[in-house]
């Protein structure tokens, strides 16, 4: 965990050489929307991500995760730099409710978004002034469902479950993708939030990503010719149906038919 995060930070820093150099903007941006975002940033984000979105690595954080036994990485700082993460990451973290985080060290989980759409746009515009990728526009209609199924099984199902129902991995809980929009899926693949690996254009092309997005949308309402779907989880709910539906029905049958005939 710790190594992964450290590595992620190292990569992030390498991607943005000279993050705090003279080339980067300082102070209030000229553009009005970004300027509004600058003020919002000061209010909600500054405490962790630091002045000028350069991150806060100065002091070691003692914050560990909440929840019993959640293994949390001790970050070598408080909040990472946002230089070079771009509108893509800002849009993802804000629209899923992942940020602002309640406590340091928590796994960001999907939560109600407290910012207005305008505020999010402003914050995104501000973060975008530090460079980085734009918000992607996936086109699931261009993707292939079958290819998406195969790619999702190969790259995603190990953590997110084959029908994107979420699961457990050491150090985190990969979320289900039931509420994930097409854009959020595309963003998450390129970011790799929390312990998720990041997939570059070379690992997954945009067209392949379209297929994955199309498959994720398919998992929101999979075909179920067999009747009640039981949450698409397989044997655990099936065992529950066996013991709490089928067997009680048969026991009632036994009790009714087995009523004593000889008195």
């Amino acid at each position: 965990m710790r190594a992964v995060l450290t590595l992620a930070f190292a990569v992030a820093l390498l991607l943005v050489p000279g993050a705090a150099d003279a080339g980067t903007p300082h102070g209030t941006p000229k553009e009005p929307l970004a300027a509004y975002g600058y003020h919002l940033y000061g209010q909600y984000c500054l405490a962790c991500h630091g002045g000028n979105a350069a991150g806060r690595y100065d002091e070691p954080s003692n914050a560990t995760g909440e929840g019993p036994g959640r293994e949390q990485g001790q970050q070598g700082g408080i909040g990472p730099s946002l230089h070079g993460v771009g509108a893509l990451a800002a849009d993802f973290y804000l629209r899923t409710g992942y940020m602002p985080l309640r406590h340091l060290g928590l796994q960001p989980r999907r939560r109600p978004v407290l910012f207005s759409d305008h505020q999010i746009k402003a914050l995104v515009a501000y973060v975008a002034t530090f460079g980085g990728p734009a918000i992607p526009t996936p086109k699931p209609a261009l993707g292939s469902l079958s290819q998406g199924q195969a790619l999702f099984t190969e790259h995603c199902a190990g953590c997110h479950q084959v029908l994107a129902q979420g699961g457990y991995v050491k150090g985190g809980l990969p979320p289900d993708l039931m509420q994930a929009t097409a854009r959020q899926v595309a963003e998450a693949v390129r970011i790799g939030p929390y312990v998720m690996p990041r997939f570059s254009q070379r690992a997954l092309s945009d067209r392949q990503l379209d297929s994955i997005v199309r498959y994720v949308q398919f998992t929101h309402a999979p075909t179920r010719p067999g009747g009640w779907g039981l949450g698409y989880l397989g044997p655990v709910p099936e065992g529950l149906v066996t013991w709490f539906l089928a067997i009680p029905a048969l026991l009632v049958l036994c009790l009714l038919l087995g009523r004593r005939l000889s008195r």
């Binding site: 953590c159 479950q161 809980l173 999979p222 075909t223 179920r224 044997p235 655990v236 066996t242 048969l250």
Partner: protein, 474 residues
């Protein structure tokens, strides 16, 4: 109707008797006594589930292809897998599920019937164990039953594996690893069964198929026949409900007209419940899992419930291997996957002998115990059941983490302690409860006797009406 009907039956029986001389046997069969208690029907439920399994299984064999040859899926009825490479076996199950008339109904009913079959066997086993029905002279019947349970577990596992979808492939990998972990023989045994060092031989699927549709069903069928024959030869056990029910007299209802409609009803009812669930509730939607490749897996994959106890055990055993120098004597999966079921089945096999050994009871038993009548047996049984059940629960700990947010790692540590402590506690509580129930019965009996005596005394002294409470005061 009846005037014409009776001679017809008689004529039919006579016709059969003249050609086979079976009338005495038939009469004996029709007069055979069956137990008159609902709990004796659990074994019958298992029997009927088995019949449904065979019937639906035969239909499935019409469409299943036992080949791992790689094909490209071209079924336009299911676009989510169109054009993917997969084994012929998986493609054939996709086809039979999604394109064959009634295929999915039959396949789902087959799978539900397997789940119910094993559940009914387990309940039947509980009934037999906790009432002491396995005691002399019925140990043989019991051992055959335990063997059938073991064979059924293997049979169900092979059936699950045959489909070659993502889940079944993952299950096969685990089974293969557990097989490899057997000391000394594991590697050779697996090489022999899987035909080579790596489970990819084209011979593997035909082998599993023959095992699933021929060898195991015939074995189970033969043992089932022997099991029922032994039951009939030794007759049923019974609770002591009235004076007539003793070690020497069997009370029951005749096969005809008492038991026959009951059994027929249960058979039709069991099949009805299974087909109803098979038609209404999805089970193992293999088209959603996709084909298995060695590089793919899914989170939250679980075996069917009847193998959940083994997954739980594999999870609970701490990570260690028993090594001598560079030689790994006992790889880790051995403990959860092989040693644990060996202990459980060993207990089941040896229990009648152990009990005889410790109680010195060599007598014939045709009367059943109520669980309270044998507190030690009940206590040990409850401890064993709760031990296996807690290990079983540990197998679902990842889903508990996902749905309830209780961390996985702490759960495992809690289970590692709890699976040893709680069974002892539950066993002692069960034993104590039995003792208390017995004592309570003694008190009731004493009170009853005292009241009888008082009543008699009163009558003898010429007191007022019998049963008058004031009579004693004077």
């Amino acid at each position: 109707m009846s005037r014409r009907g009776a001679p017809m039956t008689r004529r039919a029986v006579r016709w059969l008797d003249e050609r086979s001389a079976t009338a005495p046997l038939l009469r004996k069969t029709l007069r055979y006594l069956f137990p008159d208690h609902w709990s004796f029907l659990l074994g019958e439920v298992a029997l009927y589930a088995f019949m449904v399994l065979v019937a639906t299984g035969i239909y499935l064999t019409f469409f299943f292809v036992d080949s791992t040859r790689e094909v490209v899926f071209r079924g336009d009825y299911y676009p989510a897998l169109y054009g993917q490479r997969m084994s012929e076996a998986y493609a054939s199950v996709l086809h039979l599920s999604l394109a064959v008339r009634a295929g999915l109904l039959i396949r789902q009913t087959h799978h539900w019937a397997a789940n119910v079959f094993l559940a009914a066997i387990v309940l039947h086993l509980f009934r037999v164990f906790f009432t002491g029905a396995y005691r002399k002279p019925r140990e043989l019947t019991y051992w055959l039953g335990v063997t059938m349970l073991m064979l059924s577990l293997l049979e169900a596992y092979i059936g699950y594996s045959l489909v070659d979808d993502l889940m079944s492939g993952m299950g096969l990998v685990i089974g293969y690893s557990v097989g490899l972990s057997l000391p000394f023989v594991g590697q050779n045994l697996m090489n022999w069964l899987f035909d080579g060092m790596f489970p990819g031989s084209p011979k593997l699927w035909p082998r599993m198929y023959i095992a699933h549709v021929l060898i195991f069903p015939i074995l189970i069928g033969l043992l089932l026949g022997a099991h029922l024959l032994l039951v009939a030869m030794r007759h049923h056990t019974q609770f002591r409900r009235k004076k007539a029910q003793s070690e020497r007299t069997i009370v029951g209802i005749p096969a005809f007209p008492g038991q026959a409609p009951r059994s027929l009803g249960l058979m039709v009812g069991t099949a009805g419940v299974l087909f109803l669930i098979g038609g209404l509730v999805q089970i193992n939607p293999i088209w959603l899992w996709g084909p298995f490749h060695t590089y793919s897996s899914t989170n939250g994959a679980q075996p069917d419930w009847y193998l959940g106890w083994l997954i739980g055990a594999l999870r609970l055993v701490p990570s260690f291997d028993l090594t001598i120098g560079h030689y790994t004597l006992l790889p880790n999966p051995f403990w959860g996957g092989a040693a644990f079921p060996l202990v459980v089945f060993g207990f089941l096999y040896f229990w009648p002998w152990l009990e005889r050994r410790f109680t010195g009871d060599q007598a014939f038993h045709n009367l059943l115990d109520r669980p309270r009548d044998a507190p030690v047996r009940t206590g040990i049984g409850v401890a064993m059941v709760s031990w296996v059940f807690l290990v079983f629960l540990a197998g679902a700990s990842d889903r508990v983490d996902v749905t309830l947010g209780i961390g996985y790692a702490p759960q495992i540590w809690v289970y590692r302690v709890v699976v040893w402590v709680l069974p002892v506690v539950f066993g002692l509580v069960a034993w104590w409860t039995c003792k208390e129930l017995q004592a309570g019965e003694l008190v009731l009996r004493d009170r009853h006797e005292a009241e009888q005596e008082a009543r008699l005394t009163r009558m003898r002294h010429g007191a007022e009406r019998p049963g008058d409470p004031d009579a004693l005061e004077s």
